[in-house]
Amino acid sequence: MSTLRRVAGKLGGLLLTLFLASLLVFFSRFLVPGDPVRFLLRGRKPSPEAIADITAQYGLDLPPWEQYVRWIAGVLHGDFGRSLQFRQSVTTVLGDRLPVTLMLVVMAGAIIAVAGLVGGAIAALNKGRAVDRGILISLTVLGAIPSFVGSIVLIAVFSVQLGWFPSFGSGSGFWDMAYHLVLPSIALAIVFIVLVGKVTRSAMVEQLNREHVEVATSRGVTRLAVIRRHVLRNSLGPILTVSGVLVAGLIVASSIVEQAFGLAGIGSLLVGSVDRLDFPVVQAIVLLVVTAFVVVNAIIDILEPWIDPRSAAGAGAR
């Protein structure tokens, strides 16, 4: 009962945030002074057909609120309008580019999760020792390597010097694509490892000092079982929360990595569309990234009591 109400409340918050975000994405165009037709057709020949086309697409002859309603109704049906640079529907263009970015983000996410969890756990178990300090310093340095720096260094070393990995394109077929995305996913992951690593470390350090761990250890439960069942399990909450925050950052940072490695994904599409003044595509991608962020965080929020029952108990007690 209370669970249902909680989930409904979260869903309401999610819809409200998405609605407000869509207002921001749509009405941002109105911040540009002057004729909207001229803004949308910047850098293109304002032929009568083009003007008629763009006016019809955005309903520019309607009042702003009706324009929004038209646009959002289209978006809800998967119609983001037509791309000005490709002369195709934005949805088609996005669909072609989605697989590369999805795979890139999933591979980078896996690297972040493994490196962050293992690094943070080793640091926590060796708190105060040289290993701990070494890991913390490495994390801080890794966290200062922006993805464009990671990209060029990886290309220089592993692609140009050693010739182990390709430096351009996404290949064809699943395994070839995975192979092509090894360097890009590492470049994308580097800067985010520090977040997961530090959260894991501090959450585990906190748990390790708690009485239930001491009790379990004194009862003769093996070290490994204590860490897995009592320390790691209890540390999952904060780790998941920080992972949710990473999602949008990963998608956006992938624009830099995709550009550096010449990958035809959503990120490089965003950069190209900003560069080539293709506003319908920019709007669609911004809205997608924001939706991904809000939805993933809402899911984590909703799932939290199942992952970490203490948070539900705490909420009930309050």
Binding site: K198, V274, V286
Partner: protein, 288 residues
Amino acid sequence: MTVPTPTLAVRVLRMPKRLRGRGIVFASLAVLAVVTLAAILAPWVAPYDPDAVDFTAFYAPPSPAHWLGTDSLGRDLLSRIVWGGRTALLGPLLVVTFSTALGILLGLVAGWRGGWIDAVLGRVFDVLFAFPSLLIAMMAVALFGKGLVAPVIAMSISYAPFVARLTRSLVAAERTRPYVAAYRVQGFGGAWIALRRVLPNIAPIVGAQSTLNFGYVLAELAGLSFLGLGVQPPTADWGAMINEAQGGIAAGQFLPAIAPAVVVVLVVVAVNIVGEDLSDRIGGEIPA
């Protein structure tokens, strides 16, 4: 009863003593000082004109004449890095200044007034948090054109909620403290207490957060220039330099790209170390 406050000069002179045993922090401050001074004094310290093309020295290797060598157009890399610090550091400085000012203002209002203002601002922050700052910056470029102006304004707005939420939580906690009640009883106005008594108390923690923000903003603005959407070539800027030097990497010419990249990483590491040290010494925990 006046307690003599040490002058700035005395405090600076005392710095090394306090920093003893903090080698890394001291080194970081030194890196930041050198980079900042080089950028400010660029016309006097740069050995060459950063835009001077030398057709006889494409990709010259490091030598006494060109300490870091030259790029694909024979321009001196060291001079370009020195000059490039101007845009690369000015952008983040502006963003941090604006976002801190805006964030403190909104956070003070939300935390001090509470109620519906707090609720509305909280919802606005939630929406803004869903827009990663690099995304907002790219959208601003799509709307207003390339360069540094639109991204700086956009990112100032995008970073303000982080400062505001921190300020809000600190102010809300501070508001219930006895000293605030004491001032109220004496008849001081709410705005006066908030600005003259509460704000100075929370400023150090907010300052530490803003220092850390400086590093993130620097990396993001450099990334934007790397994408060709920020500072435009041929202007010397760290991100734009790496963008221009990308073509040379396949030909084995690494230095024109790696040199500015190393400087970016050094500065971001230094800023992070200083920022973390600040927050450690203040003892306030900065919510991630």
